[in-house]
């Protein structure tokens, strides 16, 4: 129990803004992939089927996560004819946070901590 608390404290030792972003928005590996994808390709607008293909994930898993990210304000969901399409929010604050997260993800220690929080959140 004590050991788990210690690990938790070590893992929580990261920038509070990024920790909050991880816990509230990047709380699954598919979302992590999607946030990275939209961060690297910020002017993408497409359907869940096509985005799943770009991200190399299956459509069912991607569809639900895209909808959640849209509900959280990270993405924008729009109807286009009979299609539902997703694009990155144009909110500068959201875009700044995503860029910070992507830059931090280049660091191995950050990645280890981020994975820990995602797995804990999935339990």
């Amino acid at each position: 129990m004590e050991r788990e608390d210690l690990v938790g404290r070590v893992m929580a030792d990261m920038d509070p803004e990024l920790l909050n972003f991880l816990r509230t928005q990047v709380n699954s590996f598919v979302k992590w992939d999607l946030i990275r994808f939209f961060g690297e390709n910020p002017y993408t607008t497409d359907t869940a089927e096509n985005i799943a293909r770009y991200a190399g994930r299956n459509v069912e898993a991607t569809q639900a996560e895209l909808a959640e990210l849209a509900a959280q304000g990270v993405l924008v969901e729009q109807r286009l004819g009979e299609m539902t399409v997703y694009s990155l929010s144009s909110n500068p604050e959201v875009r700044r946070l995503i860029q910070r997260f992507l830059e931090a993800s280049n660091d191995r220690q950050f990645r280890v901590k981020a994975i820990y929080h995602i797995i804990r959140g999935m339990r």
Binding site: N41, Y43, T44, T45, D46, N50, Y54, G81
Partner: protein
């Protein structure tokens, strides 16, 4: 007559000064012939030399690949995006077609907001995903092309030819009939070396150079050079020396 300069050395001369404004140009070629490079060069030169912002619509290649490939030629696409002079949009044919047809769509809004004058669509071949009916496909592509013209954009559309050497495959959907200008890029084998050839096959409303020219992809992008001399059957991919043809036609009879 007003011209939209591509900025590709040698090509504007072939086009008698450049493309005509608000027209569409099809650039067809096999993988690696330089279709996308030519399109990127058109967009880059438009921004840098003519102060004409541009849009790249990509249906397969990720924008991050465009940033990387452009950087190899010294073109900083990331900076141009930050400055609001360029947008690389990754989407699909079905979404872009719907988007362009509705009022206030993303492409329309972006073109007006940025003052975009040029667009590269890479590649229009992906429209084949939309339907197997050739007539329907031609109709959809025609609608798309007209949407780009409506927005005042001068467009380069790339088309992937599956044939590495030799004559192009037939366009079942008649895309060359829809576009204003048709440029073909080909690999040509001459004396065990592969060269690249460029031909302006059609240019509606303007005269153009009919020569088949050699071109290279250099560290600065595409450079169109002189015409192929002393050979015929260039576009077949395996040209013959003119003298050999003469012997074949008259001496060996």
């Amino acid at each position: 007559m007003e011209r939209v300069k591509t900025g590709v050395p040698g090509l504007d001369e072939m086009l008698r000064g450049g493309l005509l404004p608000q027209t569409t140009t099809l650039v067809e070629g096999a993988p690696g012939t330089g279709k996308t490079t030519l399109g990127m060069q058109f967009i880059y030169n438009g921004i840098i030399e003519c102060d004409e912002p541009g849009i790249i619509l990509t249906f397969e290649q990720f924008p991050s690949q465009f940033y990387r490939d452009a950087a190899n030629f010294g073109w900083d696409f990331r900076r141009l995006e930050e400055e609001g002079k360029l947008r690389i949009i990754m989407t699909s044919p079905e979404v872009s077609l719907q988007d362009l047809q509705r009022v206030g769509g993303q492409i329309e809004a972006l073109a007006r907001e940025m003052g975009a004058r040029r667009i590269l669509v890479d590649s229009i071949s992906h429209f084949q995903r939309l339907t197997h009916d050739p007539l329907q496909l031609r109709h959809l592509t025609y609608t798309f092309v007209n949407g780009l013209k409506r927005e005042g954009l001068t467009a380069i559309l790339t088309w992937e030819s599956p044939v590495l050497l030799g004559e192009p495959g037939e366009h079942d959907i008649g895309i060359p009939f829809i576009v204003d200008t048709y440029i073909i890029l080909r690999y040509v084998e001459i004396e065990s070396a592969v060269h690249k050839a460029l031909l302006v096959l059609k240019m509606r409303g303007s005269d153009h150079d009919k020569d088949i020219r050699q071109f290279d992809i250099t560290s600065r992008g595409i450079e169109v050079r002189s015409r192929f001399e002393g050979h015929e059957g260039i576009m077949s991919g395996s040209p013959r020396r003119m003298a050999d043809s003469f012997v074949q036609a008259f001496v060996r009879r």
